[in-house]
């Protein structure tokens, strides 16, 4: 690429932005000039339309198409084979089980660690510093985290020099190097550790803010009643942050159900570590079995749905209380 090419590209971007601004400006101008009668509706439609169009193109249409594809084979005939495959093939069943293991462990453990950490550092000296340390992994992309941790778990056989941290430690203490990523079922749990490592910071920051929102009067009142720290935590702090706890748990649950990058970069789903999102990609794009991929996508959608609904319900109830 030459400088001239680059300038051309930059010019294109600038032009694109200018055209976008012009279109939006024109739209707003006309909405403003809409007839007095029913102006509210015109404005409503005008402002909703762009977002709605993008939603339809980017979300609703693909969702419908995926649902249809899930019930078709490669030549377009209607069939239930894709779902039968998902629930009968040993490898596919293992994928579903692994996803359940992920959803059971990641949200609970990262929330517990995040909450404990938040409570311990609350109002301590250097609180900001401690927070930054735990929050840092969240700034690393999932792929980046996967690559980093793959080195931690790296295996070199026998007498060769260990380049993986974990095996280097094992060997230093006189043990035999372990094939961490190849040993089922340890490998799934070692992958889960990576996700927890990333998500704990998120849980900690949200819960720490929530803890600060618990009224000091309540805690002092409990203290006057002669409670110890644990009782204050269980009976005052936890009920006070219940809403935030639910948000944290559900958000991490949804992120965990969708986990793809970590598994893809670290084991690519080999050695019985595959999860739904990874298998969805593998089937749809590598194996050219679009139907199977779509069926897995649909299952993933159905699994996420109740969590999202619950999350919305809790948020709505909280708003009503306020």
């Amino acid at each position: 690429m030459t400088t001239a090419d680059l300038l051309g590209k930059i010019l294109q971007v600038v032009m694109g932005l200018a055209i976008f601004a012009a279109v939006v400006g024109l739209l707003i101008f006309f909405i403003d000039k809409a007839p007095k009668k029913g102006r509210d509706y015109w404005q409503l439609a005008g402002f909703l339309a762009p977002a709605l169009i993008f939603l339809i193109i980017g979300l609703i249409y693909p969702a419908i198409r995926t649902s249809l594809l899930a019930f078709q084979d490669n030549s377009g005939n209607w069939t239930l084979d894709n779902f039968i495959w998902t629930f009968t093939q040993p490898t596919a069943i293992r994928t579903l089980i692994n996803t359940i293991i992920w959803v059971l462990f990641v949200p609970t453990i990262s929330t517990i660690i995040g909450l404990a950490y938040a409570v311990f550092i609350d109002r301590s000296r250097g609180e900001k510093f401690y927070k930054v340390i735990l929050f840092m992994p969240i700034a690393i992309s999932f792929v980046g985290a996967g690559v980093i941790w793959r080195f931690v778990y790296e295996y070199r056989s026998g007498d060769r020099e260990q380049i993986g941290l974990l095996n280097a430690i094992v060997v230093a203490f006189g043990g035999e190097p372990v094939q961490w990523m190849q040993t089922d079922p340890i490998n799934t749990f070692l992958l889960i550790v990576v996700m927890i490592w990333i998500q704990t910071g998120f849980a900690m920051v949200l819960l720490s803010a929530a803890i600060k929102g618990v009224p000091t009067e309540q805690i002092e009142a409990a203290q006057l009643d002669g409670t110890n720290a644990w009782q204050r935590f269980v009976n005052v702090t936890v009920p006070g942050i219940r809403g935030s706890l639910v948000v944290v748990l559900t958000t991490i649950s949804i992120a965990t159900l969708k986990v793809f990058d970590i598994v893809r970069t670290m084991t690519a789903g080999n050695f019985n570590t595959s999860v739904i999102a990874n298998e969805m990609y593998t089937q749809a794009f590598r194996a050219s079995e679009v139907g199977r991929g779509s069926a897995l996508a649909l299952i993933l959608f159905v699994l996420v749905l109740p969590i999202v609904i619950y999350n919305i319900n809790v948020l709505r109830k909280q708003r009503e209380i306020r």
Binding site: N74, N270, R286, R292
Partner: protein
């Protein structure tokens, strides 16, 4: 204060300037190459185009991609067609999506006939022009033409080729210890047992790790054994699913390979026990031969470039050098030579004269000789002069491909549907060497075969 007001625009302006300068640095203005003294004679038939551009996508990367681009630079200068090549390791996964969305490159260099069939099935491919077909009829065998054909329509000529089923060894070690190059599979078994019995090291070194494609080197073993033990007819029936994947003849091939891959006496020289097969990268697995820690390594002709991972030529690949390869022998000494191999097919997504001109050039003997002369690869094009190849092994490989007596079969997993050839077969190999029984593995793979 005046200074603060100044600062308000100074900082963003300085930042923007810095970014701008940095970006200019990236582009590193490359002067257009001189058209200069190119002999345009061979390119006259393709016509001349004014400012036409053809985009090509494929899996070929790095040094191989540079050589590919170099192989058509004269063609570009003489015809006026600009060829823009983009390589991507995710090409195979993306190409169907791109084609469906109408965003595919003009030409896609597809490395698997199975993928070509799927793209043709989707109705996205442009059939090959008469010029391409004429080249194929002249320079390639009927088998090769068949791999570029789907449902009776001919879509693409083959491009390059590789021969699978080489067994790499150290000529010096063989001479010193008096080992003979085996002429039958039984002799190979005896040789392996002899090396194992001498006890200095395990005879074979094997690596199956290859990222998300882990397991594929093992499929090459199975394919070689199916072809040699049961012959080309059974091989064809196997890859087209006329016989099931768990047919007894396939099980026999698995078990024959298992005597090496699943035996702690046979593998894994210089690396560890059987469990290390899946952690050892295929790129480095053969290297213990140089250190005398194993004697035999099964890998395709392209493994030649891996002997010197740092570049250079410290390790000499020759029949009197540090390493060399012999073809995995036939089951009986008087059986004809049978080899498996791979290749690529440039399929077209845009119907245009310049695209077909490029494809005609790529299918010609002119291109094949140009590319083979640049080194590292071979072609099954019979117009190629074997002497143009860059090494003794590649010369030998071209001669094998061009020999009409050779039974050639395309890599089986590349011919099978993606759900098997690029997924369950690989995964099956991984679980097989990790301890699953042959029957369990072939049954699982058979169950994954798509019904349509």
């Amino acid at each position: 204060m005046r200074l603060t007001r100044h600062r308000r625009w100074l900082v963003p302006a300085a930042a923007a300037a810095a970014v701008g300068l940095a970006l200019t640095g990236c582009t590193g203005d490359i002067a257009d190459q001189e058209a200069g003294d190119v002999d345009c004679g061979p390119y006259e038939d393709y016509g001349t185009f004014d400012g036409a551009e053809v985009t090509i996508g494929g899996t070929i990367l790095d040094l191989e991609a540079d050589r590919l681009v170099e192989s058509w630079s004269d063609f570009e200068n003489c015809t006026g067609i600009t060829i823009d090549y983009q390589g991507s390791s995710e090409f195979e996964a993306q190409i169907a999506v791109l084609a469906e969305g109408g965003n595919a490159p003009d030409i896609g260099i597809v490395p698997q006939p199975g993928l070509l069939a799927r793209l043709a099935q989707g109705g996205w491919l442009i059939p090959a022009s008469e010029a391409v077909e004429a080249n194929v009829d002249e320079f390639w065998s009927e088998d090769w033409k068949q791999y570029g054909t789907y449902d009776g329509t001919f879509y693409a000529a083959p491009l390059m080729a590789s021969i699978k089923g080489y067994v790499w060894y150290s000529p010096a070690e063989f001479e010193e210890k008096g080992y003979e190059i085996p002429k039958t599979l039984d002799e190979l078994k005896e040789l392996s047992e002899t090396i194992a019995a001498e006890g200095e090291h395990k005879p074979w070194c094997v690596g199956l790790e290859s990222g998300d494609a882990t397991g594929w080197p093992g499929t090459d073993w199975i394919e070689d054994y199916v072809l040699r033990l049961s012959g080309p007819e059974v091989y064809d029936q196997w890859v087209t699913h006329e016989i099931p994947f768990n047919d007894p003849q396939i099980v026999a091939a698995f078990d024959a390979v298992g005597e090496y891959l699943k035996s702690d006496d046979m593998v894994n020289g210089g690396i560890g026990d059987v469990s290390t097969l899946v952690t050892e990268a295929f790129q480095t697995a053969g290297l213990p031969i140089i250190d005398g820690e194993c004697s035999l390594h099964h890998q395709a002709s392209f493994y030649e470039t891996f002997w010197n991972p740092e570049g250079g030529d410290d390790v000499k690949v020759a029949s009197d050098g540090d390493v060399f390869g012999f073809l995995l022998p036939p089951a009986n000494a008087d059986d004809p030579q049978a080899v498996t191999g791979g290749g690529e097919f440039p399929v077209a997504f845009r119907d245009a004269e310049e695209v077909e001109a490029v494809r005609a050039y790529l299918s010609s003997d002119t291109w094949a000789n140009n590319r083979v002369s640049l080194g590292g690869v071979i072609s099954a094009n019979t117009g190629v002069d074997p002497e143009n190849a860059s090494s003794e092994l590649l010369v030998q490989s071209i001669e094998i491909l061009q020999d009409p007596e050779t039974t050639f079969r395309f890599d089986g997993s590349d011919l099978m549907p993606g759900a098997v050839g690029a997924d369950s077969f690989w995964k099956g190999i991984v679980s097989w060497v990790s301890g699953s029984s042959t029957q369990e593995v072939v049954d699982t793979i058979e169950a994954s075969w798509p019904t349509s």
